[in-house]
Each structure stands twice: as structure tokens, then as C-alpha cells.
Assembly symmetry: C2
Homo-oligomer: 174 residues x 2
């Protein structure tokens, strides 16, 4: 399955670090790319810098019209999953979701416009409590990839961690 993430509603400066975390989670948990609107240059710089050092083919795409993007995605046969605390519990949808071939995951900042709910093929809740779109994205990707993303190898990385019980072991790949 191929997954892209669409981050909407980013507010300059205020959301920079949260959006950066969301992008890094998208990459580390197996998505192919993140689309972002209205971000500061520093956000995409940080994320592409990480992708360069740590490998893989993750893309950061800055876009202007997220509705046009989501509509085009659906027209090409992809599905849209919007993460919201108001949706259906992920555990009731995970099986169906893992049969899809292309999913665009929409995550919003504080207030998400009505159109996101309407455009979505799935409105998915990672629990019905208020928490964090970063956590919601992580659990969503964890469920649809069945935990395997945590062992994914990233091709072409310059750095590699050797898991350790007590300290930091890091390898430079030559």
C-alpha cells in the first residue's frame, strides 16, 4: 500500500514544530510523502535534511490548494482518510483500510473545515478523546502497516543506529 499525508491548517511559527514532527512521523512510519500548505521554509528544510541523512525516498511537497489535491487524488482512484476525534474508531476500520492500494491521510491543525469531512472516504478516530494529530498519524500508520514500519530499512542512509540498552551507538555508513 502507498500512503501520502496531507497536512492542512498550518499556522505560521505557532505550528512549525508540530508540523515538523508530523512530517517526520509520516516518513518514519512508512508514508511516501507529505503535502503541506502555508509552511515556513524551515519546516521543509528540517525534514528534507533528515531524509538525506537517514535515507529513503521521502518527499516534501508544498502545495497551495489542498482541496484540488484531494479531489485529484480521488479521481485517480485513491482513497482519502481524514483523522478526526469525531470519526469511526480506527480499530473498526483498519482491516478495510489495509486492503486499499493508495491512501491520502488528512491531518489538520486546530479547526478543520467541513470540506475535509465531506471529501474523505473515511473519517477515522484514533480514540474519541482530544489529543494530537501527530499521535493520531502514528497510530493510524502503525495499524495499517501492522507495526512492520518500525523495522523498515531506509535505503541510502548515511547514519544507522545500533539498538542499545544503555547508550547511543551510531554507525556512519560509507
Amino acid at each position: 500500500m502507498k500512503v501520502s499525508v496531507l497536512r492542512i491548517g498550518h499556522r505560521l511559527v505557532r505550528d512549525d514544530r508540530v508540523t515538523t514532527h508530523a512530517a517526520l512521523v509520516a516518513r518514519a512510519f512508512g508514508a511516501e510523502r507529505i503535502y503541506m500548505t502555508g509552511i515556513d521554509q524551515s519546516v521543509s528544510k528540517t525534514v528534507t535534511g533528515v531524509a538525506k541523512r537517514w535515507g529513503g525516498e521521502f518527499e516534501v511537497n508544498v502545495i497551495h490548494d489542498w482541496k484540488a489535491l484531494a479531489k485529484a487524488w480521488k479521481k485517480e482512484g485513491g482513497k482519502v482518510a481524514h483523522l478526526t476525534m469525531y470519526g469511526i474508531n480506527i480499530d473498526n476500520a483498519a482491516e478495510k483500510l489495509s486492503k486499499e492500494s493508495r491512501i491520502l491521510v488528512i491531518i489538520g491543525a486546530e479547526k478543520v473545515p467541513r470540506e475535509a469531512y465531506d471529501l474523505a472516504d473515511y473519517n477515522i478516530a484514533v480514540g474519541n478523546q482530544p489529543h494530537s494529530e501527530i499521535a493520531a498519524l502514528a497510530i493510524f500508520l502503525d495499524r495499517i502497516f501492522k507495526g512492520k514500519q518500525l523495522r523498515k530499512e531506509f535505503a541510502g542512509s548515511r547514519l544507522k543506529i545500533i539498538p542499545s540498552e544503555s547508550g547511543k551507538e551510531i554507525q556512519e555508513v560509507k
Copy 2:
């Protein structure tokens, strides 16, 4: 199992939103409390406001000396799990962890002092890629609570969501 979260290394303003997300994830994913150092008042206000409206007994404790706290925790028989990309993969430790009765989960901001690694009974990686302490905390709690936290009911809530496929359904509890 009883779990508390300890957030260290918070940088004023810059980390406010990330720390708020971490605290809300701690609550929504079944921890009993979060200890935080050096936070802005607004962070604990937001979190206690959410806990009031959405129920449960979640506590926010602002502390000054996190090392003293972790040492006291261990002295009373509790275990300390530090989340770090350098650690042992969560899936290799989850079974052992779920047999513990009291866990203090340490999550840091950018750079974590050596003492955290040394104090920890477990240094746990949620994947060995850089991403987000919010995502790491969510997956950690998800694994040790085996996903059940997403269906937890919060006693005394004023608001309750009715899961919906397409919109927002919210109930005021009287």
C-alpha cells in the same frame, strides 16, 4: 499497570505546543499524570481544561528536579522507561514491560542528558529513526496497554463523542 509520564527539557514558548500535545496524549492513552519541568503556565492550563471537560482523573504536576523525582520513583519500586531512538525496539520489550506494575516514562525534547539513559531501567526505541516524542509516547502506551486505551471511558466527562462516519456528533453529559 499504573503509568506516569515525565517530560524533560522543555524550552519556553518554542516547545509549548509539542509539550501540550505530549500531555494530552499521556491522558488520552491511559497515563495517570504528567510531570513537567520549566513549562509556561498556559500548557498546564490547557491540559487541565481538557481533563475537566472530557473527564478522568489526569494530573498535571510541575516539578523542578526531574532527577530527584526519577530516583524517588525507583526507590519506591517503580521502573523507569526512557524513550529514545537509540534504545531497544519496543516490540522486543513490550511483553516484559507489560508485566511491570508502575512505570515512569521519560520523554525529552531535542537533547536528553546522559543521566536519563543511566537512570532508566529500559531505554526504548519506537523505531530507530528520528521522529517525534509525541508519536513515541503514543505507540509506547498503545503497546503496553495493548490498544485497549482507545476505548477507555473517562469518568465524569461533560462531553462525549458519538463516533460518526461523516461529521461531528457530540453529546453534553448532564
